[in-house]
Structure formats: structure tokens, C-alpha cells
């Protein structure tokens, strides 16, 4: 037993009720019950941690304070003497972001013969896509259809999703799976070649396709390998974009990158720009831990907004119900929803179930927060609250050895801290997981700025106010490919006599001035800062002003 003694006692309680819970069919909530639960406990409904945007296309909209401070931030190019008569690179399509959406866009644009540059903040493939364990949805079985998938998506999103985006998502899904397979992604299959598929929270059909519990990693490493195979794609690693370039008419025209190795700017002239920078979990809204990649700092939203693009659904974030709550070293890391798909139940301090395990993510997260606030949670020695996720249940339901076979990544992760998933339950609490909103797009990934396209988590509208498991990997492939197609098409039509400038920054500063806003930050922030500042030396760095 690897739990400290106060927790050990509580583990016994979970063990004691397992047999009785095995026979229990916990009821699903009605629409009204769900709504009440969300309003009372979901973090999106708190008022004190939100603020109203004052400047730009989304003035008047509500968003978390952390995000508002960045999208109303100051550009790092304050007094930059950047000579824009010359460019370090000229290209047809500039893809900003090297994750799943960015790589899918680049490969697709390259298929059309466009010259492509991928600029990425860290290494190619360093992205949330790599971490998505659960699976990818597609309605490809006989008892399923794109229409049934559609209904699940909009129901999960509380009927707020943009219909044409959902249509694109579900219609392209089977082809996305085949595209991945043709690139060499290995899906879990039966001997006859049919897909082994499972349920996810909020699905009415078993349509989750998996690659063990490395689905995102398998997809990402394959896409990365394909990008590296193509001479037509130039990859600039450790080169995040810090500002877009626009024409005097306001069209996208390229970007300024910062080479992090050399601390030097790069000027890129591009006929079309695809923003695929992913999410913003590393902004730690409301102080939540996050399951996100180190680079998830919302850069694309900042860049697009300053260039004049409208954002959508930026008042809603997804808190994945099952982030790790113990051990402390991996707090906030994801426990894949596949664990619940396989049959693990959520259990409170008293050994009782309190929610149907496959309600949508926002509902399950709210139920866990309720249990903890009402003293039915478990407090760890580090002072973190959580509830039990009863993983040994899987072995009873699906046979001994299932946990090791279906969840190798997770077994490995917990074994490093001495916890055996197939024998002991684990402690979980919601973790900041996904940016439901982002830059508003249409079904071809266009934004309100001409020649600027957005795909993947950086966009908003596909998932409405809540995303279902397995629709994010699908989103990055479907809309990544669409952005690549459309980006190449537009680029090959545009002649290159346009003039990239930073004039949108002048307009932006004028707006800030008119509204008397003093920016709180320089944005995008590019990376979080987790360094410890010694007491009394909060800056801690030589040469900074005290």
C-alpha cells in the first residue's frame, strides 16, 4: 500500500463498497438537474474571477481576468526598429504552431504545392495533441452516423455550438481517420480490421477510436515524421510568433517571430497565416492546476485580437473532471476519460457514488467540486482535495489484466510513485484542460481578418460551451486540414505586391489610449514562469530595475 495512513483507511472504505456498487446503476441527471449543478459549482459561473473586455472587437464580453490582461496587453515590439523592407523568409503559407492542427495544415498545404513555413515555440510536436490519451471520435460504425454524432456534439456543448462548424467536424471525421491511417497511425482494431471503439462522456454510440492510451502521441509523432519528410515545409523550432504583420488595409501579411535561442526577431512575409497555437491552460485560470502542455499560454488569441480578429466563447473553459490530486508531484496531470469509459466509478469519502461517471465533463467536474465543498471529499497530506476514481473496478468488469493492457501510459505514470492502478483507487480533482473558445472562424477556418485562418484549440465555436472527449483530436485534424487547403488556395491566388506592416499596432495603441487603459502585461507571454523567487528578491534577476 502506497497511500499514507490517513488515506489508507479511506481506501479500505472504497474497497468495502465496491461489490455493492458493482450492481448499482447510478441514474443520469435530467437537463434541469445538470443546469442547476453547473450554475452552482462550475468555475465558469463564478463572477469574481471574470472581467469585461473594454477594447477591440469583443468589447463588452466577459472573460477570465488572466486572459483579459493578455488580450488587452502591450506588444513586445514597443520601440522596435524593425526594418520591414526586408524579410528573413517569404512564403505562401505561414503556420504558427507545430502541434496537431499546425502539422495537419502544413502537410495539406504542401499537398497543394504551396511553400510552407511552420513556426513553433518549442520543438515540432510539443503540444497538447501529444498528451491526448483518450481517443478520437468518428461516426464510422453501422449503428452510427454523422447526424447522431452531431446531436452528441451540440448536446454536450449545451446547444450553443456554431452549426456549420459541427457539421464540418462530424462530416469530415471518417475521412480524417482514414487520412491518419494512410500516414501510418496504428488504431486499436479487431482481427478483421474493424475498429475497436468505446464510449466517452456524452456519447450515444461507441465511436471513440484509440491507440492504446497514447492516441494523441501516436498521431502527433506520425504527423511530425511526415512533416520532416517533406522538403516543401520549412520548420522553425523555438521561434514563436510575437506579433502578426498586416497590410495597411488590415489583411494578414506575415508575422514577427522571436528566435528564443538567439533572442533575435525574424520577419516573415506570408500570403496567408494559419494560427494553430492551441490553448491557454498555463494561464491557470482561477488558480487551477492544468493538464496542458508547458507552451499553452494563449498566444494565438493575443496575436489575432491585436490584428483585429473577433474571438468567441472566451467566457468558458473546460475543467477536466479527473486531474491527478495525489501524489503531489503530478497534481493536475490528466487521468484520461478512458478510465471511466472502461468502467471506473467516481466515489466520495464515504465510499458512495455521486454521479453517473460518463456525464459530460463540465457536469462531472461540477459534481466533484460539490462533493469536496460539502465535506464529502478526501483531503491529501499536501492539502489538496479530491475524490476517488475506482480503477480496480475495471479489472472486475473487463477482466484481470485490462488496466495494464488498455492504460499502459497511466499504469507507468502511477507506478513511478508506487501506486498500482489495478489494485488501488486514485485521487482526482478537476484540472484546467481546454479552452472551449478562441478566435471565431467559419467552416473554412476564415476569421474576420482576411488571409488569417485559425484551426484547432485556438479557434472557438466548434464545441460550444463544453467539448466532448475525443472531439479535440478530431478538431485538430479536420480543421487543420481545412485550414491547410484554404490557406494554400488563398495564397496561390494572392499576388505578392502587398506590404506587410505593423500599422495595426498603431491603431491598437490609439484604442487603448482612448479608453484610458494602461496595459497590465506585455503579451503574448510565450512561457509560464515557475521559477522560485527568493524572499525579498521578487525580480531576482541581475540588471532589472528594483
Amino acid at each position: 500500500m502506497s497511500y499514507p495512513s490517513p488515506l489508507e483507511e479511506l481506501v479500505r472504505r472504497v474497497n468495502q463498497t465496491r461489490e455493492q456498487r458493482l450492481k448499482q446503476n447510478f441514474p443520469r441527471l435530467s437537463a434541469e438537474e445538470k443546469q442547476a449543478l453547473l450554475e452552482q459549482f462550475h468555475p465558469d459561473y463564478r463572477t469574481d474571477t471574470f472581467t469585461t473586455i473594454q477594447v477591440g472587437p469583443n468589447a463588452g464580453d466577459r472573460t477570465p481576468r488572466e486572459l483579459a490582461s493578455l488580450i488587452e496587453g502591450e506588444s513586445p515590439l514597443t520601440n522596435a526598429a524593425l526594418n520591414l523592407d526586408h524579410f528573413d523568409y517569404e512564403t505562401d503559407v505561414l503556420v504558427i504552431g507545430g502541434g496537431g492542427a499546425g502539422c495537419a495544415a502544413a502537410i495539406t498545404a504542401d499537398d497543394h504545392g504551396a511553400r510552407v513555413i511552420i513556426a513553433t515555440k518549442l520543438r515540432l510536436g510539443d503540444a497538447n495533441t501529444m498528451m491526448a490519451q483518450g481517443g478520437i471520435q468518428a461516426a464510422d460504425k453501422e449503428n452510427d452516423s454523422p447526424a447522431i454524432h452531431y446531436l452528441d456534439v451540440v448536446g454536450g456543448g449545451h446547444f450553443t455550438n456554431i452549426p456549420e462548424l459541427v457539421e464540418a467536424l462530424v462530416t469530415d471525421a471518417p475521412e480524417a481517420i482514414q487520412w491518419l491511417e494512410n500516414l501510418g497511425v496504428i488504431f486499436d482494431k479487431n482481427p478483421d480490421g474493424s475498429m475497436k471503439t468505446i464510449h466517452g462522456g456524452g456519447t450515444s454510440r461507441r465511436r471513440m477510436h484509440t491507440c492504446r492510451d497514447y492516441t494523441g502521441a501516436e498521431i502527433m509523432r506520425t504527423l511530425r515524421d511526415e512533416v520532416k519528410s517533406r522538403p516543401g515545409i520549412t520548420v522553425l523550432e523555438f521561434c514563436p510568433a510575437v506579433e502578426l504583420l498586416t497590410t495597411p488595409e488590415g489583411d494578414a501579411a506575415g508575422a514577427i517571430l522571436l528566435n528564443l535561442n538567439l533572442n533575435r526577431y525574424l520577419r516573415i512575409k506570408a500570403k496567408t497565416v494559419v494560427i494553430a497555437t492551441g490553448g491557454s491552460g498555463r494561464l491557470h485560470y482561477q488558480g487551477f492546476p492544468t493538464s496542458n502542455h508547458y507552451g499553452a499560454t494563449g498566444d494565438g488569441l493575443v496575436l489575432a485580437y491585436r490584428a483585429g480578429a473577433k474571438l468567441a466563447f472566451i467566457d468558458t473553459m473546460q475543467y477536466h473532471p479527473t486531474g491527478v490530486a495525489f501524489p503531489q508531484q503530478i497534481v493536475g496531470q490528466l487521468v484520461t476519460e478512458k478510465v471511466r469509459s472502461l468502467g471506473a466509478q467516481l466515489v466520495n469519502r464515504n465510499g458512495n457514488q455521486f454521479i453517473f461517471p460518463l456525464e459530460t465533463r463540465d457536469v462531472v467536474a461540477s459534481a466533484i467540486i460539490r462533493e469536496c465543498r460539502q465535506d464529502r471529499g478526501v483531503r491529501t497530506p499536501a492539502g489538496i482535495d479530491g475524490v476517488w476514481l475506482d480503477t480496480p473496478m475495471i479489472e472486475i468488469l473487463k477482466g484481470p489484466g485490462t488496466v495494464k493492457r488498455e492504460l499502459p501510459a497511466m499504469v507507468r505514470q502511477f507506478a513511478r510513485f508506487g501506486i498500482e492502478l489495478d489494485k488501488e483507487p486514485i485521487l482526482v480533482y478537476p484540472t484546467l484542460h481546454y479552452q472551449n473558445g478562441g478566435v471565431a472562424i467559419d467552416a473554412m477556418c476564415h476569421t474576420s481578418v482576411r488571409y488569417l485562418l485559425v484551426a484547432g484549440e485556438a479557434s472557438g465555436g466548434v464545441h460550444g460551451r463544453n467539448r466532448l472527449m475525443g472531439n479535440s483530436l478530431l478538431d485538430v485534424i479536420v480543421f487543420g486540414r481545412r485550414a491547410g487547403n484554404e490557406g494554400a488556395r488563398l495564397a496561390l491566388q494572392r499576388n505578392d505586391t502587398f506590404t506587410p506592416t505593423l500599422e495595426h499596432l498603431t491603431r491598437w495603441r490609439q484604442l487603448l489610449k482612448e479608453k484610458k487603459i494602461v496595459p497590465e502585461s506585455v503579451s503574448p507571454i510565450l512561457l509560464p514562469d515557475y521559477t522560485r523567487k527568493p524572499a525579498g528578491m521578487e525580480s531576482g534577476k541581475a540588471g532589472t530595475e528594483v
Partner: protein, 227 residues
Amino acid sequence: MNENLIDIYIMGEHHQVPDSLTILQALEYAGYRLTRGVGCRGGFCGACATVYRVNGDYHLKFALACQTKVEPNMQLAMIPFFPAHRPRYRLSELKGTAQEVLDIYPELLRCYGCNTCTKSCPQDIDVLGYVSALLRGELASAADISFDCIMCGLCVSRCPAELVKHHAALLCRRIYGSRLAPRSAHLNQRIAEIRAGKFKAELEQLKNMDRKRLQELYAAREVEPEE
């Protein structure tokens, strides 16, 4: 929380850090704001491959900095980049044989079975096992054994025969996934149906449906039972 401080050495430099931290957290506690050697922080991306030993012991140990706790007297070094060879190939132009993998990575034939790769794998993968399978021409087996590889490259950094195993394994998996794995009849059929426009009218109807009716349909959904 009370912090029990221990001594560690980051690239030779002495630091005191709480013993509850992972190596990655310890680096940040010591003041490193990382751009290299950090990635997903969840054990999936291989960015934080770390080599260490403990003072007094000559054995080298291997770990992912985000998944491993510090221990007293650790001597730590990160491998933020390793110049691993990756020839350019186009999967679509390959026939899909084990021989092609050996043609692209001929150095695989130099393996003399020392097993250093397996010992250096932070994922506990039987690296030598998949290299051997590949050398026997068993692509499916090589793909299966190597499946959990996160491509950190530690096995490559340690190989005395200079094999680029993780890239060769990726090629095996891509060949298996695209050429050898049995195809799904239901997937092909659904794609054909979509291209023929079979679901267009139904989706059009859903797109234009008012919220109340959608909610009713949603509530009345038939849910496929678990297996």
C-alpha cells in the same frame, strides 16, 4: 507544508531543494526558467530526458525529469537536443517491407546486442527486443513492442553502435499502420456514403432546427449499451 531540503547538483552546481519535487520542479525551484528540456510535463513528449548519477556511485541512470523525484546527492544533466540521424523518406513511396527499413537505416545491422538501449529507456521498453524483431523481418512485432516509445532519444545517445532506434521504430509503426494492419470495411463504406451525400439532408435539418426541438431529440437519444 514543511519542506525537507536535500542537496542536488545541476550540471555540477550545488542547490538545496525540497525532497518532494520532481527533477523538473527542482530545476525551476533552483531558478531555471526552461525553454529546452521541458515539454508536456506529463511523461508523453520526451523533451525532458535526463541523465544522472548519485555521488559515490559511478552508474549512470536515466529518467524523464517531469516524472521522477529528486534524491539526495543527485548529479543532474539534461539532454535538450541530440543530433539523431533521420534520413528523408516518403512513406507513400515505400512498398512496406522490413528490408526497406534496413535500407533506410543500414546501421541497424551493426547492433551487437549489448542491451544498453533497453537499460537506458525511461519507458521500460524492450528496445533490444524490437531491434531484434526488426532484424528478423518481423515488422508487426517491432511496431508492437516499440509502441509506447516517446522518442526521447536516450537509447540513441547511449548506443555504442550508433543506431537511431526510435526513428527506425517509428518507420516500422508507420509501415504497419498504413500497409500491414487490416483495413476497416465499415470505415471505407462510411466515407463512400458521405461522399455520395447520404447524410447531407439530415445534417441540414439538424443545423436549422430550433433549440427546443434539438433538446428533445437529444434527451430521447438511444444510448448504445456498453459491451
